[in-house]
Amino acid sequence: MKNIISWIDRRFPLTSFVKKELTEYPTPRNLSFWWNFGSLAGVVLVIQIITGVFLAMHYKADAALAFDSVEHIMRDVNYGWLIRYMHSTGATAFFAVIFLHMARTLYYGSYRSPRELMWWTGQILLLLMMATAFMGYLLPWGQMSYWGAQVITSLFGAVPFLGDELIIWLRGDFTVGDATLTRFFALHYLVPFIIMAVIMVHLVALHSVKSSNPSGINLADKDNIPFHPYFTTKDLFGLCIFLVIYSYFVFYQPNMFIEAENYIPADPLQTPVHIVPEWYFLPFYAILRSIPDLLGGVIAMTISVLIFAFMPFLDRSKIPGGAVYRPFYRALFYVFVIDVLVLGYVGAKPPEGYLVFIGYFATALYFGVFAILPFLAKKEELWLRKKGLPPELEALIQSEEKQKAERMVARRKAKRARK
């Protein structure tokens, strides 16, 4: 074994790579369990890819056969039910883990300098994930699958001038049909591998800026500990807890996240009375519905997803770290979380009565939170200063400012030299 490894090492930096990026990789000692979700998301992706490949061996992407082939998987294929339920529950688990991962990033301010690129690659990953989930949802070819795809592809009709042609191009037909199903299947199989590639970028960025930590302050070298065995153990422990919860849903509540309506084969001439998207799209769907205009709704929904990318610009507070030391920001964080939950509830219900108004209000609040953040951050800074910052914090801010100023001076000098 040793000989083989040293043979490889002479040709490829295996040992040194594993040492640098894995076993001896310096990790802040104070990471809480909120830092478990990144690696967990990676595990869920692997589960999805493995179960997905095996499902694809039995699935038929053909409008006439798709629905029956899913039932064939459920009834005839050995352990087909298990593989399918793992895949359908896995989609839910993936979004749950990612939403928690994002909540942690927002709460602890991990999106702030120097981790903006991590946040933005994460945003791209979220979009890719949403696209994959949406296309995968069409494949069982049930009523919800069909009408979900019909409604979402229709959103592109809001694009000025090109709208109608764009919809037909996306569907390959005048309505969602066989052509749509086969292309969604092809792309549903492809995108996860693109996700893999973007995760690599996400990880390279991570290993260059290193993990953030609950204090929100970059730790000194002596406060880091090697990743192995401390965090391999911790991640494994987290994984075990995750698997317990995941297995509960796979074995005892597999249909909790599948609409009953989706066990009726797709019927292009009959829309179900009440159509709802999957739970992870509900808040965005509620925003779409709350704007009484097609184009406006589509724009609002798009912005509601993309707006996270602007966090590093919106939050310009000099107080380091996240919500821990920032009472105003913390309050805003909780308001936002509750607002998203309310939107999710509104999105799940038919748009009737007082719920419509709650939808309006919650939508306004959703964007309001982002709009108020820059001012709130400034106010908060002044308020905290007035109350008196701890001297260490003040020193930290000053040193950051100094570094920034030095970088500026250096850049200006370089510019002048070039001239």
Binding site: G172, A179, L269, V273, I291
Partner: protein
């Protein structure tokens, strides 16, 4: 900066502008090539000929009583055929619809027969028949007996398919 770097920054060719020109030309040709090569792939995603050949549908009008409607499939889309009662015709001629005003006479060929594409102009759900028109279950748009939007998020009236009467009780859509 070290001397090494400096020597790198010195132009390696006598006439750097010619190098720039070559780079630009290469970039432009490559770009144009990629755009041209991607066209067949983009185009392949448009409806294929067999899909396009579903373009016309024949529908018989027999057996529809006044006030009743029937749904037929055209290009995979539902088309509503409504035989209107005299009352309904009167009401519809009198009104201009809602947020997308249009005269009833512009939307029909024969007053008793209203023929519209049964896809909500909001996001493409199939509205269901209600007592005085159609109601879309998805986000609550309402249409009258001329297929005109009355309220809700739908931006425009139900679309009119091209159709003609080939006989008293038969139409060809498309």
């Amino acid at each position: 900066m070290t001397d090494d770097n400096k020597s790198l920054e010195e132009p390696l060719v006598d006439d750097p502008e010619r190098r720039d020109f070559l780079n630009t030309v290469t970039g432009v040709v490559a770009g144009a090539g990629v755009v041209a090569a991607s066209w067949p792939f983009i185009s392949s995603m448009n409806p294929s000929s067999d899909v396009l050949s579903k373009a016309t549908t024949e529908a018989s009008l027999t057996g529809i009583n006044p006030g009743e409607s029937k749904t037929v499939e055209w290009q995979g889309k539902p088309v509503f055929i409504l035989r209107r009662t005299d009352d309904q015709i009167k009401n519809m001629t009198a009104s201009q619809g809602g947020k997308d005003p249009e005269a009833d006479s512009d939307r029909i060929q024969k007053p008793d027969w209203l023929i519209v594409v049964g896809l909500c102009t909001h996001l493409g759900c199939v509205p269901s028949r209600s007592s005085d028109g159609w109601f879309c279950p998805c986000h609550g748009s309402k249409y009258d007996n001329s297929g005109r939007v009355l309220h809700g998020p739908a931006p425009s009236n139900l679309k009119l398919p091209p159709y003609k009467f080939v006989s008293e009780d038969k139409i060809v859509i498309g």
